[in-house]
Assembly symmetry: C2
Homo-oligomer: 328 residues x 2
């Protein structure tokens, strides 16, 4: 079957085809125009580089498209975004890229935008020796600001969900685990692969936080997402807020299907790409929030002290290697 | 001498060093926060890919930094930007990149931002097999909108300056021209290399256009920049505005130093990266504008008809090959 490649299509035709995914009210100009007289803005850029962040053997272009939007939106959410405006896309393609690959990528962007809101605002595309997707997402900043540096001693640390699934999914897709030897259930396998290829940013959590805030007047609360890993997220909150985090290993929520053992703790603590939120709130507010959403779990608290993460009730604390994400 | 490379510095330290170029009011969060309750926004993304847009033998990292900002800002200006908010930077580096290269790049960003306005708002960086810079620039949309599709039959076509210099500069830097054989003056050589490495977006033109508009009530005027080449810019205006452009070859402004001949016309018409503006205005408004800024020149007009560019008074029209920019 003949496959159309980008080199044969040419830049102008490529841009014309891509433009079909943009809303009709965008002009033909290079710039995207955004009406925004009401709210302040949040802006976030994330890169997806072939062979660094993704590999064609492990993830489809449609999933890459979804995931690029999801990861960017997760950053906006963790700053208190109340509405997604959309994304600008910088796309680098090799000249032998098939058009179908590009189309699937854009279908993935489109699926995620349809689910979470916002539109493709504009972008640029170019040839390169490797594929690269640079997404800049824009959202409206709500009145309640979520910030890494807003945690306070005495506050409760909450997580919106469980961790480690995405890392497990990646390793499964890479065939780096022996499923039979590990005796993994099919359900856990499917959950993990879904978490890896179709992460879901916590787009509805802000409304619940605001709903639970009735009697509380903080205008900034401590929050970040766990894209760089569960442990790193808590360490970041602690460092930026200049206080110590204390978490209780026994309180950390896990799937019933999640095996026990050191390796699984490593996946849980340092896996990354989970896109749950870590939230710091005064005790009463935290309790109210948990009442409204039972997926949210109290896992620890902040105290005065040197920025660090203490893990209580963990049998082998010195065995937890902090091999955090680094792309270099 | 020991050179620090990115692989040894690590991602966290790299981000810390880069953060020093950001304004102090930006938080440590992934998202940039932009106060913007007054105006609508213009957003533009441009890519600079190593070996596609730049080559280390031909341009320094400091010039790449300057040029990335300049090209992005030129797109904002050609849509009617009245104030630059700043840029988000997506940066892909090879792991053997020297820190000095990154520092020089950021000095280049900084120089351009200091000159034209705006700040580094945020970004992302990652490892890749080639260097890549993705800039998303944000500006405030003024009341007068400049758009490719707003030219009208009967209007005058203006250019803010001369073309071809940047292409000449590129070829000189690539050692693809015999300077002695061509008998090029040192002044033209320097002008061309400067145009190539340090383009100047027309950041003050909007004020002059508004100043000259006193009795005119159009809220959108036809405009684009000549980043893709002089001819392509006029063709884009014509296509998007669905009318025919007629230009007079004899009226096109040229430097006294610019040689005559087919090759030089090719550079002029199709060279690209010039960042002048092509503007369409009603006759009286155009005259007023030229009175206020004598670098602006009338070069033609628009008429009803199929979108196209007619070149009057050009001896060898059929010899003008339209080999426009394509990155694939």
């Amino acid at each position: 079957m003949h496959k159309e490649i980008i080199k044969d299509i040419g830049e102008k035709e490529l841009i014309r085809r891509i433009a079909k995914y943009m809303p009709a009210n965008q002009t033909s100009d290079d710039c995207a125009f955004v009406e925004s007289k009401k709210e302040d803005l949040l802006i976030n850029t994330d890169l997806m580089v072939e062979n660094t962040h993704f590999n064609q053997k492990v993830i489809s272009p449609r999933d890459i498209g979804w995931k690029s939007v999801a990861t960017n939106y997760s950053d906006l959410i963790s700053s208190g975004c109340i509405e997604f405006v959309g994304i600008n896309i910088g796309l680098v393609l090799t000249s032998d890229t098939e058009w179908e690959w590009v189309q699937e990528l854009y279908e993935g962007f489109y699926e995620a935008l349809k689910k979470f809101g916002g539109a493709i605002l504009g972008g640029d595309c170019s040839r390169g020796e490797n594929k690269m997707i640079s997404i800049t997402a824009i959202g409206l900043q709500g009145k309640l600001k979520l910030r890494r540096n807003a945690c306070e001693p005495g506050e409760i640390l909450l997580t919106t969900g469980i961790h480690g699934l995405s890392k497990l999914g990646l390793l499964l897709k890479k065939n780096q685990l022996n499923i039979e030897e590990l005796n993994l259930s099919e359900k856990l396998i499917n959950l993990s692969i879904d978490a890896f290829r179709r992460p879901t940013p916590k787009s509805k959590i802000l409304k619940t936080i605001i709903q639970s805030s009735e009697f509380f007047i903080k205008k900034e609360i401590g929050c970040t997402d766990s894209s760089d890993g569960f442990y790193q997220a808590i360490l970041d909150l602690s460092k930026e807020s200049k206080c110590k985090a204390v978490i209780d290993y026994q309180k950390i929520p896990k799937s019933d299907l999640w095996p026990n053992g050191e390796r699984w703790d490593q996946f849980y603590f340092f896996g990354g790409e989970d896109y749950e939120l870590l939230i710091s709130l005064p005790r009463d507010w935290a309790k109210k929030l948990i009442q409204l959403d039972d997926r949210i779990t109290e896992i620890g608290y902040f105290v005065k002290g040197s920025p660090n993460v203490d893990i209580k009730n963990y049998p082998n604390q010195n065995k937890l290697d902090n091999n955090s994400y680094s792309h270099f």
